[in-house]
């Protein structure tokens, strides 16, 4: 099976019914997608599949053969944070950080579709993402700030 992960074309050897989450974490050692509930309920494993946010824990490898996968590493680095990552940092949109990669990728996909989303649109886009420590106000603030909204 072939995947392009954060711009790198790769051949992967995991079984075709292995989850994309398993492939990323165990075969490719990309651990930013988190193994949370592993039944689609928490959003911590979210990655972008051809630009669309998808739960990697629910996605079999065979379904994404040839697809382009983006993890949080694909939209920014420690040296060069993306606008969203900076905004999460500046608005304290995280505490433990477990949900943050999924949150930011879902928000990234939203901002690709909607340049200036309102709070309701942000809440809808992040509805499947659970944060158990920060609460959601600062997370929504961060997305709005990244979009150049009034909370910036």
């Amino acid at each position: 099976m072939k995947l392009t992960v954060n711009g790198r074309a790769l051949e992967v050897e995991s079984p075709p019914l292995a989850t994309l989450l398993h492939v990323l974490r165990e075969e490719l050692s990309i651990t930013s997608p988190k193994a949370g509930c592993q039944q689609g309920g928490c959003g911590a494993c979210t990655v972008l599949v051809d630009g669309e946010p998808r739960r990697s824990c629910l996605t079999p490898l065979a379904a994404v053969d040839g697809a382009e996968i983006t993890t949080i590493e694909g939209i920014g680095s420690a040296e060069s944070l993306s606008k969203l990552q900076k905004a999460f940092n500046e608005t304290y949109g995280m505490q433990c950080g477990f949900c943050t990669p999924g949150m930011i990728l879902a928000a990234h996909a939203l901002l690709q579709r909607t340049r200036r989303p309102n709070r309701r649109e942000i809440e809808t886009a992040l509805a499947g993402h659970v944060c158990r420590c920060t609460g959601y106000v600062k997370i929504v603030d961060a997305v709005q700030a990244a979009a150049g909204g009034r909370r910036s």
Binding site: L17, G40, P53, P60, T124, A125, G128
Partner: protein, 268 residues
């Protein structure tokens, strides 16, 4: 993963999917994966054969010759701006990511969940008078959705279709908010030139048609009188699960039904 890797079949067209499914014996169908994948990963499901439909070109909504046809692999998100009351029910399913992955076919074929009801699309489809087109041991069949969800286990759903006619729609839902919403109970009602159809999701193992309510409406009974009869239709099948007890569902269902019918009146 299961101890022994199952044989994986990946059809590239509807015809290949039908051939690969055969009589359906020993085949587990993998559509969007939102229900089947956790079962596979946890080892609760250890199939011999898995038929993955992701590349079988069974998705998409078409409108032609007075019929709306929705392919089994159409993601639920594709319905959120479509015909009511299907669209509002689709908008109530989980969240945008799950809706982008979960399919119409999975919603009709996965059977009841243990902790919460499944099949949010069943009531609106039944109310729309939709028909399920499937293949299986007895060949190809087209049957009402309310019949398919009861008897269609072991068949491969290809599409659902309903008449593209003028109609009014009403929908009411009792939800439990979580990270995303779970539907506890929902009622869909549709009025067209053929009369009013009413259906319920979340009361029993699968969606069902509320014929007592329909007959009462046809006989000129008030919304409240007709709605109270919904318990006759679901009677002994009321679900008792982690979201709500059977007692609670029994108390709430007539109210939800009346709300759906009131909204139907508003749009008629």
């Amino acid at each position: 993963m299961a101890a022994r890797a199952p044989e994986l079949l990946v059809p590239k067209s509807p015809a290949e999917a039908v051939r690969a499914f055969g009589t359906g014996t020993g085949v587990t169908v993998l559509a969007g994966g939102t229900i089947v994948m956790p079962e596979l990963v946890a080892g609760r499901l250890a199939p011999r054969k898995v038929l993955m439909l992701g590349h079988a070109k069974l998705g998409g909504v078409t409108r032609a010759k007075g019929i709306v046809s929705i392919g089994a692999m159409t993601p639920i998100e594709a319905l959120v701006d479509g015909d009511e009351p299907l669209a509002i029910a689709a908008r109530h399913v989980a969240d945008v990511e799950i809706r982008g992955q979960a399919t119409v076919g999975g919603n009709l074929c996965s059977g009841p969940g243990e902790e919460s009801p499944r099949g949010d699309l069943q009531a609106p489809l039944i109310a729309l008078g939709a028909r399920a087109v499937s293949v299986g041991r007895t060949g190809k069949a087209t049957q009402p959705v309310e019949e398919f969800v009861r008897t269609g286990r072991g068949r491969l759903l290809l599409s659902v279709e309903y008449d593209d006619v003028p109609r009014a729609a009403g929908y009411a839902v009792s939800r439990r908010p979580h990270s995303h919403h779970y539907t506890v109970l929902a009622v869909a009602a549709v009025r067209s030139a053929d009369g009013t159809r009413v259906a319920v999701t979340g009361a029993g193992p699968v969606g069902l048609r509320a014929t007592s309510v329909e007959k009462a409406l046809a006989a000129g009974k008030s919304v409240e009188e007709a709605a109270a009869l919904v318990l006759r239709d679901v009677g002994r099948t009321l679900r008792d699960d982690a979201l709500a007890s059977a007692w609670y569902r029994g108390r709430v269902l007539p109210t939800i039904t009346a709300q759906a019918l009131a909204r139907l009146e508003e749009t008629s």
